[in-house]
């Protein structure tokens, strides 16, 4: 027996998979079989968990790096306009966890009014925070700083959620948590990188892809007198082939969205509904395979807000039976959030031609139309 054991442990001259008929090689073969089956049956899930966990851990480290960097960037841009001897770091770090609770929609009556109220609250708090921590910033710089903080908050949130699931998976040793997380990682990372690059664009004050709508509007209204008609929204009267066009956009060049829905509603009410058409210009998310800068026409309220502004436009258009025309330019999330590409600038001229043609074709002389350029007007004046 002793000899067998020794032989088994050191199978001298028998090769890795012995083919002999003696006892030791048979036992060695059995041991191999047991080893492989235990690997496949018993440790298989462990190995899988380990592989997925490694991927998720790497991604989490990268997300943490992005979140940290974006916080530093936010601090840097706040510090430029901060009063000396204020503890910017702790205040900004604490503010990054600011949250908004969505209104209850189990009773949907008036949910958009409640949502709008909460969004107003949120924006007011943002403005107040920036005004308090960066008092030296002008209107445009303050608006850009808000956008920079938004990007840092988004990255902070993404990092925390992914880390939450990573730790949860480790605690419960659940393969399903890791698999689900790992499968969503490519999209999550893409989004995180988009926000990260967006922040750099915001801090330089460059126009972003989402600024397409405001760009179209400001090209139409440049050099004409303007008035503020709703929160952060400017409006000009433009003559297009003997039709009176009210062109509106958010007030630039700070990173503002304004309340275009409120503005359209007020304009239409002001003229007691005597508006022939409403044209809306916005950036639209493209499907993979579509080209950036492609201009597409359709109907409906082309605006990507959480709801209230879109609702106002649809409501007032329905009330007075005003046709809603939508003209959008295709781009992906990253392109919408980072510096405007040349294709998008070129698309703005195509859109202007399309609007002019549509106005001639679909309205009569003397009619009134509204042209709303929807989007973030950072880096675009008027």
């Amino acid at each position: 027996m002793n000899i067998v054991v020794v032989n088994m442990v050191i199978p001298v001259g028998q090769g890795l998979f012995p083919t002999g008929n003696d006892l030791s090689s048979i036992i060695l073969n059995i041991l191999w079989v047991v080893f492989f089956f235990s690997m496949i049956l018993l440790f298989n899930q462990r190995l899988q968990i380990w592989t997925y966990q490694r991927n998720v851990e790497k991604a989490t480290i990268k997300l943490q790096m992005l979140a940290d960097k974006s916080r530093e960037e936010a601090l840097k841009s706040v510090q430029k306009y901060a009063q000396e001897n204020t503890d910017v770091r702790s205040q900004v770090t604490a503010f990054l966890d600011f949250f908004t609770i969505e209104p209850v929609d189990r009773d949907p009556f008036g949910v958009l009014n409640r949502l709008e109220h909460l969004l107003d609250n949120r924006r007011d708090r943002f403005k107040a925070f920036v005004a308090q921590i960066a008092p030296k910033a002008g209107k445009a710089e303050a608006a850009n700083t808000e956008d920079i903080l938004e990007a840092a908050m988004a990255l902070n949130f993404i990092f925390k959620v992914v880390r939450h699931y990573l730790i949860l998976g480790k605690k419960t040793k659940s393969l399903m948590i890791f698999v689900q997380l790992d499968m969503q990682l490519p999209l999550i990372m893409k989004m995180a990188e988009a926000y990260f690059n967006a922040q750099k664009t915001f801090s330089a004050g460059k126009p972003i892809g989402d600024g397409l709508g405001p760009l179209v509007a400001s090209k139409l209204m440049y050099g004409l007198p303007k008035r503020i008609i709703a929160e952060d929204i400017v409006c000009s009267e433009v003559d297009i082939s003997n039709r009176k066009a009210y062109v509106l956009k958010a007030e630039g060049p700070g990173g503002l969205l304004g309340k275009p829905g409120e503005a359209v509603k007020r304009l239409v009410e002001e003229m007691s509904g005597k508006v022939a058409r409403i044209f809306m210009v916005d950036a639209s998310s493209k499907l993979e395979g579509e080209n950036t800068g492609e201009v597409v026409e359709g109907v409906g309220a082309a605006i990507g807000d959480p709801g209230p502004e879109k609702y106002k436009i649809e409501e007032v258009a329905t009330k007075y039976k005003i046709p809603l025309d939508a003209i959008v330019c295709k781009m992906d999330l990253e392109e919408a959030l980072t510096t405007m590409k040349k294709e998008i600038v070129e698309a703005s001229d195509i859109i202007i031609e399309k609007i002019k043609k549509a106005i001639v074709e679909r309205t009569k002389e003397g009619d009134v139309v509204i042209i709303a350029g929807i989007g973030n007007t950072i880096g675009i004046g008027q």
């Binding site: 050191i10 199978p11 001298v12 001259g13 028998q14 090769g15 890795l16 998979f17 083919t19 790497k58 990268k62 790096m65 990372m189 990188e193 690059n197 750099k200 330089a204 004050g205 460059k206 126009p207 760009l215 400001s218 440049y222 050099g223 630039g252 060049p253 980072t338 510096t339 405007m340 590409k341 040349k342 998008i344 600038v345 880096g379 675009i380 004046g381 008027q382």
Partner: protein, 123 residues
């Protein structure tokens, strides 16, 4: 932009090493004259496998850094009075329709007509 793929060179080396280890294992078992050295061959094979894994993981990791994205942003300047068109790199404070002093050609008001990024050619 971040690089997420492993560099193909490292992956190829890793695969070759694994293949080498596999061939050693097969030789040790099948070819009779070699069976006397099976232990040596087995250890060599395992070492190759270990090296293969090491290269795969370490080689892959060294690329996990964020590329510093330098984009090429152009500011286009035009004039209200004439059709002059001038391009220069973006500088902070620029925004579309900002007025930037008198025109060089006709002393009308010149302004920023467009700001856009163009892809950087990779060499």
């Amino acid at each position: 932009m971040m690089q997420r793929e492993r560099q193909p060179k490292f992956a190829m080396i890793s695969i070759l090493l694994t293949l080498g280890a596999f061939i050693l294992f097969v030789l040790a078992t099948i070819v009779d004259p070699l069976s006397n050295y099976s232990n040596v061959l087995m250890i060599a094979g395992l070492a190759l496998l270990a090296a293969s894994w090491g290269i795969y993981f370490i080689g892959g990791r060294s690329l996990q850094r964020a590329e510093i994205s330098t984009e090429n942003v152009i500011t286009v300047i035009g004039c209200r009075g004439c059709d002059i068109r001038e391009e220069r790199p973006f500088s902070e404070g620029d925004y579309v329709f900002k007025e930037v002093g008198p025109c060089k050609k006709c002393s009308g008001i010149s302004y920023i007509r467009a700001i856009y990024s163009i892809p950087i050619k990779k060499d």
